[in-house]
Amino acid sequence: MWQWFHKLGSPRWFYQISGKFLPWLALASVVLIVTGAVWGLAFAPEDARQGNSFRIIYIHVPASFLALAGYYVMAAAGAVGMIWKIKLADMVMVAAAPLGAALTFIALFTGAVWGKPTWGTYWIWDARITSMLVLLFLYIGIIALSHSFSTRESSARACAILALVGTVNIPIIYKSVDWWHTLHQPATIKLSGAPSMHPDMFKPLLVMILGFYCFYVLVLLLNTRTEVLLREGRTNWVKDLAQPK
């Protein structure tokens, strides 16, 4: 059992196995996202209140989802790396940070653009967007910290600690911002209209969420593989990769 666990932590094994999954993940991501996007853009019914701008939801919601989930992935990887000293987990954590930050940015950007035709302003301090902004700061902090340390090991430990502290805080931050928002604007329309969505509008959203999940795993694997190559450059198997015989 421990042998399997150790094998799981071997960068070389990871590199070889993940290579096999990549083409399928890429295919799944492309198919799901293109299908969902076309469906949402062209075939889902128009929203009575918001008109066609609501179609942005098909990018905004999946991106926000993955941005938040991605933070937990990053923190969990950091925790595994710190507790069990598995280098591969540290690499996953480092790989997850810029990916999560980019998705958070997409969520913020699409949210702001959606706001303009809906409420007449690009920025509105509602609970969702404000929490997303704080999440972006958390990600940027981790990325900045990871670049500041001289050794890779201390860098990984520091980021793991910070990520874990942030994890505890995320639900608190979200709840408090949510509460703060209701204090100041009790009667605004909420961005997350999912429960009151017509099923014809909801189905393409599901497809997009699935597609984004596949995309996330795909890019996470790609980034982790890059980290593996970067760090294991002195090993024979990487050297063999560089010089195909």
């Binding site: 958390l138 900045a144 910290l145 500041s148 340390f149 201390s154 520091a158 910070l162 942030g166 805080n169």
Partner: protein, 226 residues
């Protein structure tokens, strides 16, 4: 052989006497606090009504920034002369020593801010109902700022230009405290009961008090190898 209690109080006293020797530095966060609060009417509007509307938030934000400004001093000076490494290597539990440093630090940064907050309330036309929740809230809030800030300060202690990064790291963590603190004051001003919010704030500081010293100790061990 130093006892646990001896080490704890000894460290607090030592940090306090070092801080008192540089009395100029002591006043920095305080002056910053007062300066920000003075700039607000100048930059926005001296109208009493408008100031009163902004007062809870402005005072809290100034307190937050003043604490952030002072966080560098928590570990930097000791790191520079090597005594921080001695602390980490000492047989006393590191979390206890870290807690001692945080307490000493709060006494010379957060505590003066709390003491002067009524003055700021006066200058910014804070309605009288707001003063008590402001004081209580800031006591709890500034302690959380110091405790959480210590984790960030520990992580960045060895880094060049660590202070900018420090602000970035701890800012998201301060958000809930800021929200709860200002709404407690606002509720009091609006005539509502603020006990619930204050209890939340107290719970948050209690939790942070329990967890942060350990997190900061762990962070310190990582940070000095930066």
């Amino acid at each position: 052989m130093t006892t646990l209690k001896g080490a704890f109080f000894g460290l607090i006293l030592r940090d306090l006497s070092v801080a008192l020797r540089h009395r100029g530095d002591l006043l920095n966060p305080l002056f910053f606090f007062l300066i920000v609060a003075t700039l607000v009417p100048l930059g926005i509007s001296p109208e009493s009504a408008r100031l009163a509307a902004m007062a809870p938030g402005m005072i809290w934000i100034s307190a937050l920034l003043a604490t952030l400004l002072a966080l560098d001093d928590l570990f930097q000076a000791d790191f520079a002369d090597g005594s921080l490494v001695q602390l980490v290597l000492s047989p006393q539990p590191l979390w206890l020593l870290v807690l001692a440093k945080i307490i000493a630090h709060w006494l010379v940064t957060g505590f003066p801010v709390v003491l002067f907050s009524p003055l700021l309330g006066l200058m910014l036309s804070l309605p009288k109902e707001g003063f008590l929740p402001l004081l209580l809230g800031l006591v709890l809030g500034t302690s959380v700022f110091s405790l959480l800030g210590a984790v960030g300060a520990a992580l960045t202690v060895a880094l060049h230009k660590g202070s900018a990064l420090l602000s970035l790291l701890v800012m998201p963590l301060y958000v809930p405290v800021l929200i709860f603190g200002t709404s407690a004051v606002q509720r009091a001003i609006d005539g509502m009961s603020y006990g619930g919010v204050m209890a939340l704030l107290a719970a948050a500081s209690g939790f942070t008090l329990l967890v942060a010293p350990f997190a900061a100790a762990g962070a310190l061990k990582v940070g000095i190898n930066g």
